[in-house]
Subunit: 180 residues, 2 copies
């Protein structure tokens, strides 16, 4: 019998955080759930971070994934935007780690390569492939598609990622343990 | 009888996070404790964020402050450093907010002005004034001095800050509620 593993993908942002949960059984991917966590732009930042943290923690406790994959976004915008994205990513890395999930990060190129086959793929091509691989996905916003893309990427890289966690290195994937 | 309020100041960083706890009674400031939370640079980032979160939460639960002040750092370094600082600041804003503290942020200029009297003060001048105002402070590293400086700034601005929390605005201080 092939082991079934549940994974969550997160595409963090202070305004919208996409998430997607899938099951992996050998080479088979099965969609479980996906969606977007929105925080109120009129609320103060600490309250928005609490809302994001509470929502991610509730999702993890509901769906019980054992591994998380977070999109590693690089930004060229101003320092203030980068800092705010950093807050959201900090919370997106913290919440699964506090729930004892393994947390892996993947850059945009690695995600595109894993999902479409080329690091030069467009957003539309990524979403089309996500919909093809996971036909029951909802994808109410592009953020959910990005979260499913990073978790598909993690499913493909898991074998090598798990090796990384055991002390080896890879250019495209870093697997990180939770709280020790 | 004048009410005594306990405040915590936090100067966040992924490597070193300074913290300082003081009591305020009218215009009197009393040092309670200060220190630095260090995370292991060899550990994966999610584990370091967990360590920072756990340490801040333990400090808050031990000393029971009711308000937090966080230094609002602006960085001119590269995007990757800004993003990492963002992770630590995200956790430094989240931890007190999850414990239902009011969280206020102050920029470096506002802190210098409150502690030394001029926004052009040097780091050494700030530390000297912190040691003069709080003679029993330990200040094992400059980060602890910065955390005490931001909490002194908050003590000075509290009256106006509390007005801000009630709907008004100020250029130097923003007071933010915890989780709603």
């Amino acid at each position: 019998m092939i082991e079934r593993t549940r994974l969550i993908g997160i595409d963090p942002g202070l305004r919208f955080t996409g998430w997607g949960v899938i099951d992996v059984e050998g080479n088979r991917l099965m969609h479980v759930a996906d969606g977007v966590i929105a925080t109120d732009g009129d609320e103060p930042v600490p309250a928005r971070l609490c809302a994001l943290y509470d929502a991610l923690t509730a999702l993890i406790q509901t769906h019980k994934p054992t591994e998380a994959a977070v999109e590693e976004t690089y930004v060229n915008r101003n320092g203030s935007s980068t800092l705010k994205l950093g807050y959201a990513r900090g919370v997106a890395l913290l919440a699964p780690a506090l729930e004892n999930l393994t947390v892996a990060e993947y850059g945009a190129m690695a995600v595109k390569r894993a999902v479409v086959g080329t690091g030069a793929a467009t957003k539309d091509q990524v979403e089309m492939m996500v919909r093809r691989l996971l036909p029951t996905a909802t994808i109410s916003r592009a953020d959910a598609s990005d979260a499913l893309a990073v978790v598909i990427c993690h499913a493909h890289h898991r074998a090598s990622t798990l090796r990384v966690a055991q002390g080896q290195r890879s250019a495209s994937a870093r697997a990180w343990g939770g709280r020790s």
